[in-house]
């Protein structure tokens, strides 16, 4: 389970649903873009800013033209929707991602933890 090397990105992910998208790494899914085009491919990375990187993509542009792209990077700003594949257990995915972040944060034992940003308010 991979987590970002950036303190800031880990904190952002931990406090938003981006953490769910990050757990989709390796899954094939469809991303709807802001301009009505869609991209279906295997998620290789999602960062804290919701930039999505996909591989082996079938891209349908806003006019409906279909093409294949080896790799695609969509900026977070242009992501409208990420479909969650049916086989994904959402709660389990989120928990696994949180555990991965906590493993990184507490690596080396309690007294050797890393610095992190303050959390947002707990709900």
């Amino acid at each position: 389970m991979e987590v970002s090397h950036s303190v800031k990105e880990r904190t952002i992910a931990e406090n938003s649903l981006v953490i769910l998208l990050q757990g989709l790494r390796g899954h094939v899914t469809t991303v709807d873009l802001r301009d009505e085009s869609t991209a279906t491919g295997r998620i290789t990375n999602v960062d804290a800013f919701m930039n999505v990187r996909l591989a082996e993509v079938t891209f349908t542009d806003r006019q409906g033209t279909v093409s294949c792209l080896d790799e695609l990077f969509v900026t977070g700003r242009n992501v409208r929707y990420v479909h969650i594949p049916d086989e994904v257990d959402i709660r389990a995915t989120i928990e696994q991602q949180l555990q991965a972040i906590h493993r990184v944060r507490y690596f080396g034992g309690r007294d050797k933890g890393r610095k992190e940003f303050p959390r947002a308010k707990h709900k």
Binding site: V7, D35, D70, E71, R110, G113
Partner: protein, 242 residues
């Protein structure tokens, strides 16, 4: 045909260039702009034709980029870049406000897009070009992102220190506490080191800020030594101001 007016002459970027790809053709909306060099720099994406004119794209305006090897979609393998802006193309009117001459997709509702393709003669470079762009794009997160709660105004806090507030075993000591935690060996080491320090100090002059018990004793003949000596005339020759 004539040159596209958005092409300008500028020096190639020198800083933060993550990838440089010479012998790369740039194509805008299907029209070739010529052969040149693509610079994928942290601040912006630039392309310069061999003649020295070119253009730059700012990452916040780039919606997406991709590696295309689908020859049925476009006859050459290339790096595709979609930009959220309008670029003047050869032969089109400059003023978008001409009545009755709207292009079919220039609705007010539809955002402008421009499609660039960068076709390197070395196809094996496409992966590196793509990755370099991903890295640079990540350096420019959306400043207009109102929905997310990504503003962490607080300072980074030390997880360790926060836990100490809960009364855990301390992992750092104040000077006094530290002394009392020294083993006999540690104590001996400390004394030896301090002795060495005092010797080197007293044999010459007092270093600012360095005082040991020994060095103070040595000056008990009444001479007062300040950490920051400001005796008139004493250091007239010194050029360094401490």
């Amino acid at each position: 045909g004539g040159a596209m007016s958005f092409l300008k002459r500028f020096p190639p970027p020198a800083e933060g260039v993550r990838h440089r790809q010479p012998d790369t053709e740039a194509v805008l909306a299907g029209r070739s702009l010529g052969a040149g060099t693509l610079y994928i720099a942290e601040s912006r994406l630039s392309w310069l034709e061999n003649s020295g004119v070119g253009f730059s794209l700012d990452y916040p305006t780039i919606s997406l980029h991709a590696v295309s090897r689908d020859l049925s979609a476009y006859p050459c393998e290339h790096l595709y870049v979609m930009v959220n802006a309008k670029f003047e193309e050869e032969g089109t009117k400059e003023a978008p406000m001409a009545e009755g001459e709207e292009e079919e997709d220039s609705d007010d509702d539809v955002e402008p897009i421009a499609e660039f393709r960068f076709v390197p003669s070395d196809k094996s470079a496409l992966e590196a070009m793509f990755s370099a762009m991903c890295e640079c794009q990540a350096l420019h997160p959306d400043p207009d992102d109102e929905d997310s709660d990504n503003d962490y105004e607080g300072e980074e806090y030390d997880v360790e220190a926060r836990e100490l507030e809960q009364g855990d075993i301390p992992s750092f000591y104040t000077y006094e506490e530290g002394l009392s935690h020294l083993t006999a060996e540690g104590q001996a080491t400390l004394e030896r080191l301090e002795g060495m320090l005092a010797q080197s100090v007293s044999s010459q002059y007092n270093m600012a800020g360095v005082r040991t018990e020994d060095s103070i004793r040595e000056f008990e003949d009444g001479m007062e030594v300040d950490i920051a000596p400001v005796v008139a005339g004493q250091f007239e020759d010194a050029e360094v101001d401490h």
